[in-house]
Symmetry: D2
Subunit: 134 residues, 4 copies
């Protein structure tokens, strides 16, 4: 059960497709980043405001499994889930789909750094409460 | 022991860095792709020629571990290793470094498709001979 | 008086900003392209469908005047105007703004080509009727 | 007669080409930027060092005329000329070619700003001496 979840729609742009006409495989990480930003906004935080407070995030690990290509102008759906949140790391999972077809699945780990790139504790107000367990 | 290995140098371009001044984490996959292309060229094949023959490759899996950021205008070294080659899949591993510092490590699996994206057997002439074992 | 006009909103994505935190100046051409595609859609045509019919467009000229920077996560407004349409060329003009501030103005000329890049006549159904003059 | 001139070679990367297999038209501005950076380096300055001194440049105007497409993996030659240098603006011209074929010509004007984007005078040591006239 994710700590938080949010879905957005993304339309594939022309300069994002490659010579085969497919969304370039590097772009998925950019979509995942958009998913994280919008999940954060959904939780009441603007990433640009965090940056202004000296709270930045860097990706320390990413993994993508590509299942089916996406093409120019297609409207895709990206679901982003926060699956783990500690004071040193957030883990997210992603599902990119077109209607009922899953195009890719992925996961990332991000860590919090200050303006000069030093690791810092993730502020309390950014950590969603754990769902009740019993 | 890799089946094949090749290193290239890459200078970080300005539009590749993000608002933190770091090489954007999605760009590493583009660098890895450059590494594969140059490894292939080193083995005597031009990817553009393969495309003209209807032999294309798609990434089916990618994984990156980011260790230290890269910045604009830095000269990096990327070592690409072909670690597994079958008639359905090539697996590569990557090490991106700046002098003696490892910035990132990664791995990908690629599969061979035809012009309409259907999986096809990887042609024999693209598969390097296995190193002798004993 | 433009032959056709359409406005869209675009949110600046993180990998689109540079090390200064500004939308990279090359990205404006990508936004203009999105403006053209959406203007075309507004006129009842999907660019992907045109491509499938062998009707492609290439940019032959572009010009941009940058007035004020755009930053990450800002919501911008792009107005695209078709100002000239002949059987060999479409000329568009663009205004990119954030609320009441004009960030950039630009213009492009595009020409119609077939799949191998040869110039061809722009099909009649793509040319909007001229506005009445008197 | 340019105040300074420098040529570099650039190999077209796969994620830089679009669905037609052509170098995307927005990429030319990124190539021009690489040309300016390398011209500057040729004149003894590193752009990253200037940034560290609070000397940054923003593009205020750009113009490109596309003549012939570039494709993936082609080795191009970019010649960058500084054609005008004042204390408020540098004007450059560019020629992108493949062997003897000119692919594109362009021009840009850049202005000097400080870290918060305010216009500032271009430092004397960055302005090449005018060529002798008679």
């Amino acid at each position: 059960m994710p700590l938080a979840e949010h879905s957005i729609s993304i339309r594939v742009r022309y300069p994002e497709v490659d010579g085969m006409g497919y969304l370039h495989h590097s772009r998925y990480l950019q979509y995942f980043e958009m998913g994280r930003v919008e999940l954060l906004r959904h939780l009441g935080h603007r990433y640009a405001d965090l940056e202004a407070r000296g709270i930045l995030f860097v990706v320390i690990k990413a993994e993508i499994r590509y299942k089916s290509p996406a093409r120019y102008d297609e409207e895709l759906r990206l679901t982003t889930r926060l699956v783990k949140a500690t004071h040193v790391r957030f883990d997210h999972e992603y599902i990119l789909s077109r209607e009922t077809t899953i195009l890719a699945e992925g996961s990332t780990s991000i860590a919090c750094v200050d303006r000069v790139g030093q690791l810092q504790k993730i502020p309390d107000d950014l950590i969603p409460p754990s769902p009740p367990t019993r």
